[in-house]
Subunit: 341 residues, 2 copies
């Protein structure tokens, strides 16, 4: 990609804010004639044409917002989308959804298509394979409203809605400790993913808080049902096997539950299991799964509210906010009861 | 909605085909000057302006196609979308997804937004609550390429990709009969839905083919996990309870499996269960669920291929085709083995 001249470039050159440039181009009454003249001259000099088209398109109300999610097959993301649609539809917006399939190149292609598809803003949960965020930066430089949710980009100054993964994991593991579990394993997601990192951090903190020594043999990268089916038997063959598993998501927890039963363990008497998500899966396993609800619908609602606020006030530059949605431990059949200890 | 003048209206008035009108407006060399003149005069007379905009937009390659699905939370639809994306991406297209949430009014709003969102064509699976299809007719009248999949509209002459629900159900029920089941129940979807109707028809045909008398007490409208949990106990209390359940989808089957186990029945020894979909659910139940795979990915691929063919050949009018994707019985743990009888 060759570098296109953006509103940010013009702002930097003139020593004003991007929003001033944007407003100057729209002939906003708050901007002085001198500034408008300076901006317009520089725009001409830098051949700032692509944006002119983008601007004229953007100023049209299309009543469409976009969402980019990594995988539609995850119940969490379809819940978030339902929450987004709930707010968007009440405000008269259609919601246009794109799937990055966890592929960086696709995410880039989608962000490039966004402006010509005439969306007025976008809600994004980032792909696992994206380590580079220039494509989002470019949208921001063009004053295109973005809100990140769940998998956010720390380095970018936008509105964000995040799940309190750390506290969710901490509460879950503390519950296991309170119901008598002594050797708690963690089936973890890759640590470069913020959710993988935060959930593992919550696990470790719960152990520390309760004076339990961290045992590296009890942590393993295992975040799919296939891995759980393959790795659970190896895990249980250890000299000192775990009496509880805290899994980073529900599918992995379900794989652990079914494999443990096949190996002859009683759940929750011999081994307790907790998942993370509270999707359809959790009501279908036997016993039904104790898990952490992420309140996807609420995350979607909150994200859409933040985005619509930006869209409705394009000329105001409020400070980006980060909203934290609390998780909730949903007790079902794969954990013991508090009273029984 | 007031009636907008469409290409179809002009074609009818002049006694030519809509594709001739469309080509005349695009100044296609195959169309005579006389016809072009007639078309253009009528267009002016009828104030056929909205389409002029639509046409000019449509003639731009945006490399975007749209998909409208009823519910993203269903594994089947997310599989179809992955198949669509597989084909679309290879051809350089982005896929823009909309969710109707089974609400007719939303489906109408989405189809209205499609043209201004500059998609080059659309793939649709119809909402449960749509009994009226004027919104799709309007797109067709404007030469906007449409392919229906799974839940199709019989009355509209477009390309369609359908699942062989009838044979899928028939094979499943015949398998139950061959493994010794004598009283097979059917948990059915509403019969105004083509899939509900076809699956029930397959169930009935299998019984007839095998000389088993149809018993109305063994068919019940029950197509959600909640209904299965509520209705299975009532069902089993009958004087002559079933020894097998064929459920219209996997979630309902999962609800039946868990409820039967709670009631003390052994699966599959006392009661066999078969679902329909082969989603994530089916590997997570205990025992894992015998079910019918609909090959969603393949349906998506085939639908996208048909749509891209239409998009690439806008001026040719080939006869609409209907492709049938075969289902497949996936044997897991909720049915008995053939050999054991």
């Amino acid at each position: 990609m060759s570098h296109q001249v953006t509103i940010k470039d013009i702002a930097r050159e003139l020593g004003v804010s991007p929003s001033t440039v944007s407003r100057a181009l729209k002939d906003h009454p708050d901007i002085s004639e001198t500034t408008k003249k300076l901006v317009k001259e520089l725009v001409e000099k830098l051949k700032y044409t692509p944006n002119a088209i983008a601007l004229s398109l953007r100023s049209q109300k299309t009543n469409v917002i976009s969402v980019i999610v990594p995988q539609l097959v995850h119940h969490f993301f379809s819940s978030v989308i339902s929450g987004i649609e709930d707010v968007a539809q009440n405000a008269g917006y259609n919601v246009m959804i794109f799937q990055s399939s966890e592929i960086y190149e696709r995410e880039v292609a989608i962000t490039q298509a966004l402006q010509s598809n005439r969306a007025e803003g976008v809600l994004v949960s980032v792909s696992k394979t994206s380590r580079n965020f220039g494509h989002f930066k470019e949208l921001m430089d063009n004053d295109f409203p973005i809100v990140f949710f769940d998998r956010v980009v720390d380095a970018l100054e936008t509105d964000k809605v995040i799940v309190d993964d750390f506290s969710g994991a901490l509460n879950a593991v503390e519950y296991l400790i309170k119901t008598g579990c002594k050797r708690i394993a963690h089936f973890a997601a890759p640590q470069h993913l913020l959710i993988g990192y935060q959930r593992q951090r919550g696990y470790i903190s719960a152990l520390e808080k309760n004076g339990i020594k961290l045992d590296d043999n009890l942590i393993m990268k295992c975040d799919t049902i296939e891995e759980a089916i393959e790795l659970t038997p190896k895990f249980m063959k250890q000299k000192n096997p775990p009496d509880a598993i805290f899994a980073v998501n529900d599918m992995t927890a379900a794989g652990a539950v079914n494999t443990l039963k096949k190996l002859g363990y009683k759940i929750p008497d011999d081994v307790s299991v907790i998942g993370f998500t509270d999707g359809l899966i959790s009501t279908v396993t036997d016993p039904p799964l104790t898990t952490i609800s992420q309140h996807g619908f609420e995350i979607g609602r909150k994200s859409a509210e933040l985005l619509l606020k930006r869209i409705d006030n394009p000329d105001e530059s409020f400070k980006p906010v980060t909203e934290v949605i609390k998780t909730e431990l949903i007790l079902r059949g794969t954990t013991r009861e508090m009273e029984s200890r």
